[in-house]
C-alpha cells in the first residue's frame, strides 16, 4: 500500500491548472452570447473550443497560409490579427509549394535523419569571412 503522502503528491501533480480572466462587461456579454450560440454549457468547453480554433489559426499562419473568409458572392476578407502575424513566416520569407518525387523525398529523409555532414572548408571560410 503506498504511503498517504505519495497519493497526495500524485493528486497535486494531476490537478488541472485554473485559468482566470478579468472580462469587461461587454466581453462577458460576448462570451455568454457565444456560449449560447455554440450551445456550450461550461466555460471550460468554451475555452477548449476557443483554444482549438486559436491553435489552428496559429498553425495556419506559421505555415504561411492566409486565413480568409469568403462570402456567398465570392467577396473575400483576409484575417489580419497583429498577434497572429508575429508567427507568420512571410514576415521574413514567403511560402511556396515545391514538387517532390518519391525518390527525392526518400533521399531527403535519409539525409535529414542522419548525422549532419561536416561543413566543407569552403563553407567554413565563406561563413566566417
Amino acid at each position: 500500500m503506498p504511503a498517504a503522502g505519495t497519493n497526495k503528491a500524485q493528486r497535486k501533480n494531476t490537478r488541472k491548472p485554473k485559468f482566470q480572466a478579468d472580462l469587461a462587461p461587454v466581453e462577458d456579454r460576448i462570451v455568454r452570447s457565444l456560449k449560447e450560440e455554440l450551445q456550450l454549457s461550461s466555460n471550460s468547453d468554451f475555452m477548449a473550443d476557443a483554444i482549438a480554433l486559436f491553435r489552428w489559426a496559429v498553425a495556419e499562419r506559421k505555415r504561411g497560409h492566409k486565413i480568409i473568409s469568403e462570402s456567398t458572392t465570392g467577396e473575400r476578407e483576409v484575417l489580419v490579427l497583429p498577434r497572429l502575424e508575429r508567427v507568420a513566416p512571410e514576415a521574413v520569407l514567403p511560402y511556396v509549394n515545391i514538387t517532390w518525387n518519391e525518390e527525392e523525398l526518400e533521399s531527403l529523409m535519409n539525409l535529414a535523419l542522419a548525422e549532419p555532414a561536416q561543413p566543407t572548408e569552403a563553407l567554413v571560410r565563406a561563413m566566417r569571412g
Binding site: K62, R63, G64, V87, P89, E90, V92, L93, P94, Y95, V96, N97, I98, W100, N101, E102, E103, E104, L105, E106, S107, L108, M109, L111, A112, L113, P116, A117, Q118, P119, T120, A122, L123, V124, A126, M127, R128, G129
Partner: protein
Amino acid sequence: MGVIVRRLEEDDVAHNFDCNDDALNNYLKKHAWSNQQKISIGVTYVVVDESASKTMLGYFTLATSAIPRNSFPKKHVRGLPAYDLPLILLARLAVDHRFEGRGLGRLLLREALRISLSVSEQVGCRCIITDAYRNKVSWYAKYGFIPLEGGGEDKPTQRMFLDLRTLKAALKG
C-alpha cells in the same frame, strides 16, 4: 569595388542585367519585384556596387516551404514528429557575366545562408534546398550542398540539400 547586399527595391535597375541565362534574367527583370511585394512568393536580395547602388550585379531569391508529413515514405513517417518538415528554398542565384570571377557568387551564397540561419531561428527550418543547374552542382557541392537522388538526368536541374546543422557547425568551427 565595394559592394553591398540588400533587399530588392522598386527603383532598382534590372534592364541591363545579363547572366547568360534568359530564365534568370527575365525573373529579375519581370517578376522579382512583384513576387516580393505583390504576391509574396519570394524575397530577392541584390548585390550592388556602392558607387552605382541601383545597378544590380547579382541576386538571389529565398522562400520558405514545407514537405507535408504524410508525403514521406511510410517507413520514415512513424519516427517523425507530427509536423510538416519546414525548409528554406534558395530559389535563384545569379551573377551578371560581366562581373564573374570576383567572388560575388560566394558573397551572395553566404548572405543567403546567413539569412536562412536567421530565419530558421525565428520560424524553425530543417534544411536549405536548391535546384541547381547541372553545370553548377560542383559549385554548390563545394559549399556542402548534397545532391538528392531521384532528380533524373533528363531534368535540367539537380535538387540539392544543405543541413542547417552543418551550417551552424561551419559558424562554430
